[in-house]
C-alpha cells in the first residue's frame, strides 16, 4: 500500500516544506473567507490569495518571489468552494514544487491549472453538491420545519458538515497525490453512478413533495355537484400536479424567468380568487 502511494506521488515526501498544519490553516482560511470579498473583477481572487498567503510566505523567502506568487493568485478565480478543494490542494502542491525548483514548474502552469479547472470543478460542485445533495437536504429540512419539527436544523447541519468534509478530503487528496488525481476523481465510474442514482431520487421526491406540499383546489359547484370531489374520484389532487408541469414547461421550454413566474402565480391566484374559482 505504502509503495503504491509513493509511486503516484509527484512530490517527494522527504523534502516537503509544508506540514499538515499549514494545509489545515489554508483550508480554514479558505472556508471562512472564500465568498466574503466576492467581486466582479477577480471574483474569489482576493480570498484565494489571502488563504494561501501564509503558505506562500513560508515557501518563498525572497521578497520578489513572494510578490510574484501573491500577484499570481490575485488573478480571477471563481469556483465551488468545497469541491474547489481539488484545486486548492493541487495549487499548494504545485507552489511547493515551484519553490523547490522554479524551472520545473513555470508560473503559467499553475495559473493555467487554476483557470482551466475552475469551470469543470464548479460545474461538478454546483450541480452535484448543491443541485442534488444540497437540495435534498434543504427539502428535508423545509418539510420537517413546515410540520413544526425542530430536527429541521439538524438536516441543515448535516449538509454543512458534508461540505466541510468534502473540502478536507479533496484538498488533502490532491495535495498528496498531485495533479493527475483530479481527473481520476472526477471521471470515475462510481461518481457517475452516484450522480445518476441521486437524480432518480431527486425526481421521485419532486413528485412526492408536490403531493404533500402543493395545495390547489376549487370550491366550484355545478348543479349541486362539488367538482373537486368528482376530480378526486378520478385522480386525487390533479391540480397541484398540473401546476407543477405547467411551471416546469414554462421554465424549461419557454425559458421564462423565475421572477416573472412568481408574479404570474400571484396575479393568477388573485384573479382566480376574485372570480371565485379557487
Amino acid at each position: 500500500m505504502s509503495n503504491e502511494v509513493n509511486t503516484t506521488q509527484t512530490v517527494d515526501t522527504s523534502e516537503k516544506y509544508l506540514t499538515q498544519k499549514d494545509l489545515n490553516k489554508a483550508m480554514f482560511r479558505w472556508y471562512l473567507s472564500a465568498e466574503m470579498p466576492l467581486n466582479y473583477e477577480n471574483m474569489q481572487g482576493i480570498a484565494f490569495c489571502g488563504s494561501i498567503a501564509p503558505i506562500l510566505k513560508k515557501l518563498y523567502t525572497k521578497k520578489e518571489d513572494l510578490v510574484d506568487a501573491l500577484k499570481r493568485h490575485l488573478l480571477l478565480y471563481n469556483c465551488n468552494i468545497t469541491a474547489g478543494g481539488l484545486i486548492l490542494g493541487t495549487t499548494i502542491a504545485m507552489e511547493e514544487q515551484r519553490a523547490k525548483n522554479p524551472a520545473e514548474m513555470p508560473d503559467a502552469a499553475i495559473t493555467g491549472l487554476k483557470t482551466g479547472l475552475m469551470g469543470p470543478v464548479a460545474a461538478f460542485g454546483d450541480s452535484f453538491d448543491w443541485g442534488i445533495i444540497g437540495t435534498l437536504f434543504k427539502i428535508a429540512a423545509a418539510t420537517l420545519a413546515a410540520a413544526g419539527n425542530p430536527f429541521a436544523l439538524a438536516a441543515l447541519l448535516v449538509f454543512a458538515a458534508y461540505c466541510i468534509v468534502e473540502l478536507v478530503i479533496f484538498t488533502n487528496l490532491t495535495y498528496k497525490k498531485g495533479r493527475s488525481s483530479i481527473k481520476t476523481i472526477m471521471g470515475s465510474g462510481l461518481m457517475q453512478d452516484v450522480i445518476s442514482g441521486a437524480n432518480v431520487l431527486a425526481m421521485f421526491m419532486m413528485g412526492a413533495m408536490t403531493a404533500g406540499m402543493v395545495s390547489l383546489t376549487t370550491p366550484l359547484k355545478v348543479a349541486g355537484v362539488v367538482i373537486q370531489e368528482k376530480l378526486d374520484g378520478i385522480f386525487p389532487g390533479i391540480f397541484p400536479l398540473a401546476a407543477l408541469f405547467l411551471i416546469y414547461y414554462l421554465v424549461r421550454h419557454k425559458k421564462v424567468g423565475t421572477g416573472k413566474i412568481v408574479l404570474a402565480i400571484i396575479a393568477v391566484s388573485i384573479l382566480g380568487a376574485f372570480i371565485g374559482i379557487v
Binding site: 465568498e35 466574503m36 470579498p37 466576492l38 467581486n39 471574483m43 482576493i46 480570498a47 490569495c49 488563504s51 498567503a53 510578490v67 501573491l70 500577484k71 490575485l74 471563481n78 448543491w130 442534488i132 437540495t135 434543504k138 429540512a141 423545509a142 418539510t143 420545519a145 413546515a146 413544526g148 429541521a152 454543512a160 445518476s196 441521486a198 432518480v200 431520487l201 431527486a202 425526481m203 421521485f204 421526491m205 419532486m206 413528485g207 412526492a208 413533495m209 408536490t210 404533500g212 406540499m213 390547489l216 386525487p236 401546476a243 407543477l244 416546469y248 421554465v251 423565475t258 421572477g259 412568481v262 408574479l263 402565480i265 400571484i266 393568477v268 391566484s269 388573485i270 380568487a273 379557487v278
Partner: protein, 254 residues
C-alpha cells in the same frame, strides 16, 4: 421581545449570510428560512410558529441554487424581513410565503451591489501584494468586506423590521378579502415553482416518470414523506444496478 432586538438579530443574520462569512455555513445554514424562522420564533416566544412559516418559505426557495454566485432570488432577505412580521401579526404560513417571494426578488439587487463595492478591495489587495504584505491581503479578504457590508446588508433589514410591521398590518387589513385569499392560494402553489426549478436543473426529462411515481405513491397511496423517501432510494438503486448490468452485458457480448 423588543422589536429593536429582533430587528438587530435579523439584520445580523442577513449580514452574516450574504456577507458570506464562513462561506457555506453562512450561505446554507444561517441563510435558511428554517434557521431564521426558529431564531425569530424563539425571540418572540413562538418558536414552532416561526419554524412552520420558515419551512414554508424554504420550500419555495429550495430549487434555487446560485451557479457562479449569481443569486436569482434571496431566501434569506425574504425570511429576515417577513417572518418576524408574520409572527407578530398572526399571519398564516401561506400568506407569509406569498409575501416573502416578491421580497426575495429584491435580494438579487443587493448581492450584485456588494460585488460592485468589493471591487475596491481588489486594487487594495494588489497594493499589499506589491509590498509582500500577506496580512494586508488577508484583511482585504475578510475584515474590510465584512465592514463594507454593514450598511448594505444589515441596515435595510434592520429598518424594514423596525417600521415594516405597522405598514404590512395596515396594508393587509385594507386589502379586500379576495386579494388576501388570492395570496393564500398563491402561497399554496408557489412550492411547485421550487420543485419545477429542481426538475429543470437536473435536466433529465427521461426521468419524469419518476415524478409521477412519487406523486402517485403519496397522493393516492397516502404514505408519509419518510416512507416515500425509502421507496425513492430503492428506485434509485434499482436504476443504477440495472444500468450497470446492461453495461456489463454489452461488454460481455463484445
Amino acid at each position: 421581545m423588543n422589536t429593536v432586538v429582533i430587528a438587530i438579530v435579523m439584520g445580523i443574520m442577513y449580514w452574516w449570510c450574504r456577507g458570506m462569512i464562513f462561506s457555506y455555513f453562512g450561505f446554507l445554514f444561517i441563510s435558511s428560512p428554517v434557521t431564521v424562522g426558529i431564531v425569530a420564533g424563539l425571540l418572540m416566544g413562538q418558536p414552532i410558529q416561526g419554524l412552520i412559516i420558515g419551512g414554508g418559505i424554504a420550500l419555495v426557495f429550495a430549487g434555487i441554487i446560485a451557479p457562479g454566485g449569481n443569486l436569482p432570488t434571496d431566501e434569506c432577505l425574504a425570511a429576515t424581513c417577513v417572518i418576524p412580521i408574520a409572527i407578530q401579526s398572526g399571519m398564516n404560513a401561506t400568506t407569509a410565503i406569498a409575501l416573502a417571494v416578491p421580497v426575495g426578488l429584491l435580494g438579487a439587487f443587493v448581492t450584485n451591489l456588494r460585488k460592485v463595492i468589493n471591487t475596491y478591495f481588489v486594487k487594495m489587495a494588489e497594493d499589499y501584494a506589491e509590498k509582500g504584505n500577506t496580512s494586508g491581503i488577508w484583511r482585504c479578504a475578510t475584515l474590510y468586506p465584512a465592514i463594507a457590508a454593514i450598511p448594505l446588508l444589515f441596515l435595510p433589514v434592520f429598518i424594514i423590521n423596525l417600521v415594516g410591521q405597522d405598514v404590512v398590518v395596515n396594508v393587509m387589513n385594507a386589502l379586500p378579502t379576495f386579494v388576501t385569499h388570492g395570496l393564500e392560494v398563491a402561497g399554496g402553489i408557489l412550492p411547485a415553482l421550487g420543485f419545477a426549478l429542481i426538475m429543470n436543473m437536473i435536466g433529465k426529462p427521461k426521468l419524469i416518470p419518476y415524478v409521477f411515481l412519487g406523486y402517485v405513491i403519496v397522493a393516492v397511496g397516502g404514505v408519509n414523506s419518510l416512507t416515500a423517501g425509502i421507496v425513492a432510494i430503492c428506485a434509485a438503486f434499482i436504476y443504477v444496478f440495472q444500468k450497470r448490468e446492461i453495461v456489463e452485458e454489452v461488454k460481455d457480448n463484445e
